[in-house]
């Protein structure tokens, strides 16, 4: 205890100092049953000893969680006498990375992937400590490598809206099949299904890259829409208003601006387990406008009946639109 204290020494502080001495002994040094008995005796002297010790235990285990990822990577050592304490905060991987940086340890690519998924009709937002946000649309699966640097996300299927706070030191990289997408400070949507990958940039810049480096990376800017299929990559420019229509799902809406019925139906089918079918190619080529709730199939069907004079027939889990 420093003599320089201007005020009377706090008994709480003295207890804390004693508790810290105990805890470091127990945690970092040889520890046997006799030591435990001695510690228990000290703890039993006063409830104040208990709370001081618990508090430091909690603090240390909390701090240790930041280094926990690193711990996994260090060679397994003889197990210490260490209690597992309950988690107190949600895990914040970026903190772990941050501590890693502070401690001057370069962070190593993690194999720890967390899977986030939505069901048909689902919608989920993941927020990051730096303010970045990603939103999963219906029927989507992503895997996120939380401790990794750069931050890696694997889009297995579905559609994701990215709103990324750019950090040159910690780029955000998306892997989607054969393609690699790197944010350069931006908002963009990526949609992946079996046949194709679509990337639309609403704001800022994005870099699109082939996973095997077979093609030259290309930089996309706001309004660029790229579609990649097995056959190749095509790109077009769309007005931003059209792109914001494509983000209607964030509000639970489908916005159709003169699209074919085939397209509209396929969009509805992404969000609903009850499926819409069109009877023939003539019906499929009719066009429609409007704004619908993603789950309101009935309203959509009624509109096609009233506006396009179609017949609606529901059999089991399917609703058929026909002439």
């Amino acid at each position: 205890m420093s003599e320089a204290q201007k005020f009377r020494p706090s008994t709480a502080m003295e207890i804390e100092i004693r508790a810290a001495a105990w805890l470091q002994r127990k945690r970092y040094w040889m520890w046997n049953d006799e030591d435990q008995v001695a510690l228990d005796a000290w703890l039993d002297e006063s409830p104040a000893h208990d709370v001081a010790f618990w508090r430091l235990e909690g603090g240390l285990s909390q701090a240790e969680r930041f280094a926990a990822l690193k711990h996994l990577l260090t060679a397994t050592r003889t197990p210490r006498n260490r209690r597992i304490l309950p988690l107190m905060f949600g895990a914040v991987a970026s903190l772990a990375v941050f501590v890693g940086l502070l401690f001057g340890i370069p962070f190593i690519q993690q194999n720890n992937l967390h899977t986030y998924a939505t069901a048909v009709g689902g919608h989920r937002t993941l927020s990051f400590a730096d303010g970045s946000k990603i939103e999963l649309n219906t029927d989507t699966v992503v895997r996120l490598a939380s401790g990794a640097r750069p931050l890696s996300l694997y889009l297995d299927k579905g559609e994701v809206f990215f709103q990324i706070k750019h950090n040159a030191d910690r780029p955000f990289v998306i892997h989607a099949g054969d393609h690699r997408i790197v944010d350069l400070g931006t908002k963009f949507i990526i949609r992946r299904d079996e046949q194709q990958l679509q990337l639309a940039v609403m704001e800022g810049r994005v870099q699109l890259d082939a996973e095997n480096n077979s093609a030259k990376p290309r930089t996309l800017t706001a309004g660029d829409v790229v579609v990649a299929t097995a056959k190749g990559v095509t790109s077009e420019r769309k007005p931003l208003t059209a792109l914001s229509d494509e983000l209607g799902w964030q509000r639970g809406e489908l916005v159709f601006d003169h699209v074919t019925l085939a397209y509209a139906v396929s969009e509805f089918n992404r969000y609903n387990s009850r499926k819409l079918l069109v009877a023939d190619t003539h019906v499929a080529r009719l066009t429609i406008d409007g704004k619908f709730r993603t789950n309101n199939i009935d309203l959509f069907a009624r509109v096609t009946r009233d506006v396009l004079k179609l017949r609606i027939e529901t059999i089991g889990n399917e609703t058929v639109l026909s002439r």
Partner: protein
């Protein structure tokens, strides 16, 4: 304070329906410690003599845990802050220092009391800065000892050998490191009198 000694560690399983000591410890760490920043803010606002704060916090914790030995409180936040207010009122009465109305501040916190604490969910960017500041405040040797212990996983003995210093000095560094990290984790800056 010691009237409940018979509830000590000697017979942790003879409590019947009462929570066991380890349950109380777990509850305390899980529910109460995350409230420390709020509690400290409350104490700082409502108690003039800042040098009493550490003792007051300890008293609050002790009372809260004492009550938890009988039954774990359902609403930790409300319980902790109410305990703190009652403690302050008693102390003010005893010391005739401040009019009791001065503790009205807890009602201003009323809204916060009922909401589930976001502080339990998110360590914001502020915490990153605070962590940086805490680590900066540790003396270089103390920081080095903590890094060796937690990043490299060395034991105290190994740290002493690596840093070529005595074991007692290593103990001191590690104890200071634990205290500073704990203060940071639960929302209080380590005080200036504790330069490790």
């Amino acid at each position: 304070m010691d009237e409940k000694r018979e509830n000590g560690r000697e017979n942790p399983d003879v409590q019947g329906a009462f929570p066991r000591k380890r349950d109380v410890a777990n509850w305390f760490i899980r529910e109460v410690l995350p409230l420390e920043a709020i509690l400290m803010q409350f104490l700082h606002h409502n108690w003039r003599n800042q040098s009493d704060i550490a003792d007051l916090r300890q008293d609050v914790y002790t009372r809260v845990c004492d009550a938890a030995r009988r039954q774990l409180p359902e609403h930790a936040k409300r319980f902790v802050l109410t305990t703190a207010r009652n403690l302050l009122i008693n102390r003010m009465r005893d010391e005739h220092v401040v009019p009791i109305e001065a503790v009205a501040d807890i009602d201003a916190l009323g809204v916060a009391i009922d909401q589930p604490g976001p502080e339990q969910i998110i360590m914001a960017r502020d915490d990153l800065r605070r962590l940086q500041r805490v680590l900066d405040r540790l003396s270089p040797r103390c920081r080095e000892a903590m890094i060796l212990a937690h990043i490299e996983g060395l034991s105290g003995q190994e740290i002493a050998a690596r840093m070529n210093i005595g074991q007692a000095t290593v103990s001191e560094h590690l104890a200071n490191g634990i205290r500073a990290l704990t203060d940071m984790m639960f929302g209080e800056m380590p005080d200036l009198g504790r330069k490790a």
